[in-house]
């Protein structure tokens, strides 16, 4: 599958597309369009969801970005979903891709981005007694936030 095949699938839903490198297509998708964009890729059997990356743009920028990487042979299509820090939530794609549960659990505990509608929001990697509301991969995370119990 090629970038040419993926572009028409996403034009309806993406606000912006770019090709940062050969073999890569980045599409900025608002979060209300995320499910539709994923659905159109899956319906066309375009690749598979390889990973979900969370990106923290920093406190000043006030934004997160959630990247959904779809791979097909040499091509990687990335759906970039901008998420404001003060309203950090994305819809779950579990209904479309059932194996996504682990990625969404990781995203939730590491960035504190709520994944709405995911059936399992238990912690995957962090310890059971990790304090609530402390998200280690955010840029403003400091070791002391993890509590005396965890600051090493």
């Amino acid at each position: 599958m090629t970038i040419e095949a993926a572009t028409p699938l996403l034009t309806t839903w993406a606000t912006d597309t770019a090709q940062p490198e050969p073999g890569r297509l980045d599409a900025v998708v608002p979060r209300e369009n995320l499910l539709a964009a994923v659905q159109s890729l899956i319906d066309a059997r375009w690749g598979y969801l390889a990973a979900i990356t969370g990106l923290d743009q920093g406190v000043e920028a006030g934004m997160f970005e959630v990247l959904y990487h779809f791979c097909s042979e040499a091509v990687v299509v990335t759906l970039r979903v901008p998420v404001p820090r003060d309203d950090a939530r994305v819809p779950s794609v579990y209904a479309i891709i059932p194996s996504v549960s682990f990625y969404e659990r990781e995203l939730m505990e590491m960035f504190g981005i709520e994944v709405e509608g995911t059936p399992n929001s238990d912690r995957l990697f962090l310890p059971d007694d990790w304090p609530a509301g402390v998200y280690p991969l955010r840029k403003d995370f400091e070791m002391k936030d993890a509590g005396a119990d965890h600051a090493s």
């Binding site: 390889a50 990356t53 990487h69 791979c71 682990f102 995957l124 310890p127 005396a148």
Partner: protein, 397 residues
């Protein structure tokens, strides 16, 4: 098709496997709810060997990060370093010399032999076939010695540096590797016979844990697990990196999708690996081993994918133009494959669980990249032996 989420707690009989369990060589926690001997539900909890590596990359410079990432996994350390180096080199706009790329591929393939033989032994042990376990691990020593001769280390080879590789290969090492391969190929032929014809062993593998091509594609499984279900997915082929365009790999697939197919695919991949190594050694480009790398990497993002022994390894690297990485995201092959374990578990015998788990060749260290040292007394980072002892005594009081 559903990935089971949690067994309904309360009325079910739940068998916990892990965090410490003889079937697991690394810690992970599974809960299987069973009805008699038949599994009805499964759930997974990871993180027991989480070391905070992704966060750790944010405080280190590009070179330090390389050595940190290489220690994500002891079995497939080289592929982590390769994925990272290739990504950072692409961001910096430099390309490692052809000889370095060939040596990267060479070490990666030797590592694949090491990993697959290790897996063969572990999987056989899960089935209670200790003969195969002991013999395949004995043969694994050969390739580990070769790697030690080449790089100086049996594991965590550190063959990669940013912009190239640190070790060269001379005629003596070439001969040693060729001689080692000769013996290994002979043994591998024997193992292929064993896994395809041992009647008792086939009773534990044939028709167990069947994953159809459709399910495999939908779950997004990678590597030999996917190829055993007939999914043509191999990064070395689909998106050649390092020197794989120069020494092409042939795709090995099977269609059955059961445990036997996973055995066959991995063992046959070994033959392919031997062939590729011979091709590399026969036609090794001359030239430099490294190119100069800038200390600061210019701003940008890149995605780097390599084929680890367990499947596609996915790196997302973002640079902000400084000498440290803004974000390094690692998605290891075990995570997508793990979903298949939970899916396949339901309806199988409890006795098949270790085999189905071993069938994907799970690597928990790869999955878990963060751990936090607990310090109830707030004593800081350095624990003396006495502290530790006292803590242990207090904990169990």
């Amino acid at each position: 098709m559903q990935v089971p989420i949690m067994p309904a707690k309360g009325e079910k009989f739940i068998i916990p496997i892990g965090p410490q369990h003889p079937a697991l060589k690394e810690p992970g926690h599974f809960e299987f709810s069973v009805d008699g001997e038949v599994v009805t539900g499964a759930s997974l909890r990871l993180g027991y060997v989480h070391r905070g590596i992704e966060k750790g990359t944010e405080g280190r410079n590009w070179v330090q990060t390389l050595y940190l990432l290489e220690r994500i996994c002891g079995i497939c350390s080289h592929v982590h370093a390769t994925a990272y180096c290739l990504g950072v080199e692409r961001l910096a706009g430099v390309e490692a010399p052809p000889r370095a790329q060939a040596i990267r591929s060479l070490v990666a393939e030797l590592e694949r032999i090491h990993s697959h033989l290790l897996w063969l032994g572990v999987a056989a042990h899960e089935a209670g076939f200790d003969m195969l376990f002991m013999h395949s691990w004995r043969d694994r020593e050969i390739v580990m010695n070769l790697l030690e001769g080449l790089t100086g280390n049996r594991v965590n080879y550190s063959a990669n540096v940013l912009g190239g590789v640190k070790c060269d290969i001379d005629a003596r090492q070439t001969d040693a590797i060729l001689a080692g391969l000769e013996h290994l190929e002979d043994r591998t032929r024997h193992y292929l016979t064993v896994v395809t014809s041992d009647v008792m062993f086939l009773r534990r593998t044939r028709g167990i844990g069947v994953m159809t091509k459709d399910v495999a594609e939908k779950l997004g499984v990678v590597g030999p697990t996917a190829r055993a279900s007939g999914v043509a997915r191999d990064v070395r082929l689909n998106a050649p990196y390092a020197a794989y365009d120069r020494y092409p790999v042939e795709l090995i697939t099977a269609t059955a999708g059961d445990l036997e197919a996973r055995f066959i695919v991995r063992v046959q991949e070994l033959f392919e690996t031997y062939r590729v190594i011979r091709a590399i050694l026969a036609d090794l480009p001359e030239g430099e081993l490294t190119v100069r790398m800038p200390r600061r990497i210019k701003e940008g993002e890149t995605i780097s994918r390599v084929e680890a022994p367990r499947g596609e390894l996915f790196y997302f690297i973002k640079s902000n133009g400084s000498d440290t990485a803004e974000r390094v995201k690692v998605r290891t092959p075990t995570l997508p494959n793990m979903a298949s374990v939970l899916t396949l578990a339901v309806g199988h015998q409890l006795a098949d669980m270790p085999m189905i788990l071993a069938g994907i060749d799970p690597c928990f260290s790869c999955n878990d990249r963060m751990i936090v040292v607990r310090d109830p007394a707030g004593r800081g980072a350095h624990w003396t032996w006495d502290d530790l002892r006292e803590y242990g005594i207090e904990y169990y009081r």
